[in-house]
């Protein structure tokens, strides 16, 4: 692996962690519950990106299945929060 790709991966990991920090800011003091749900969904998307960068960095695709689990958790969390906000119950 060339040092060029290492520098690019470090830059993109830095950008992703800054994004996680901004989303945590919105998650902590979002004025509504839906803001917090959107921030949680974005955090799960950013973790998918972090997993992809770490797969390239470590040269192994052992953890690539976690992409599925994180996407499912983000979707189910947002959908159930929306159902709860509308109906007052989830099911």
């Amino acid at each position: 692996m060339s040092p060029f790709l290492l520098i690019v991966m470090r830059l993109s990991l830095g950008a992703l962690f800054i994004t996680v920090a901004l989303c945590l800011y919105r998650l902590s003091l979002g004025p509504k519950a839906a803001d917090r749900a959107v921030a949680f969904d974005t955090i799960s998307s950013v973790f998918v990106g972090i997993i992809c960068v770490l797969c390239i960095k470590w040269g192994s695709t052992l953890y690539f299945d976690a992409v599925w689990i994180l996407m499912l958790l983000g979707f189910l969390g947002s959908a159930s929060i929306a159902k709860y906000l509308i109906q007052g119950r989830i099911f």
Partner: protein, 123 residues
């Protein structure tokens, strides 16, 4: 000197992380819940797609090839993120409605009943 594969991977990673960073900045700086959903639903989806494409492209042709899992993950992301964002926007619009002062047009408002219980909870 980087090879062609590493160059394409680097370009995809930079595109994806830039879109992700713009998603975070939009989440903090936009004035309204709907604007924040706009930032998260569009730029976040495209950023994830570029990140997964970077991983798929880097491992393409090597013994651990992930293009089936990566392609299905991209398809799944394209299906689920608009659905969840639409559900959340519907919930906020019906139950907890407030927009910022700079909103110019809201055409849906005059077609909706005043109580959200008249739309849902009809059983």
């Amino acid at each position: 000197m980087p090879t062609i594969v590493e160059l394409i991977t680097a370009i995809l990673l930079l595109l994806g992380s830039t879109l992700m960073l713009s998603t975070g900045i939009g989440l903090v700086r936009f004035p309204d819940t709907f604007c924040r959903m706009h930032a998260s639903g569009k730029a976040g989806t495209l950023g994830v797609v570029f990140m997964v494409l970077a991983a798929v492209e880097y491992f393409f042709g090597t013994p651990h090839d992930v293009w089936v899992r990566g392609g299905l993950a991209i398809l799944f992301q394209f299906f689920t993120t608009p659905a969840s964002t639409h559900l959340l926007a519907q919930a906020v619009y019906l139950c907890d409605y407030s927009v910022s002062d700079r909103t110019a047009v809201d055409e849906l408002r005059k077609f909706l009943p005043s109580q959200p219980d008249q739309v849902f909870n009809q059983e």
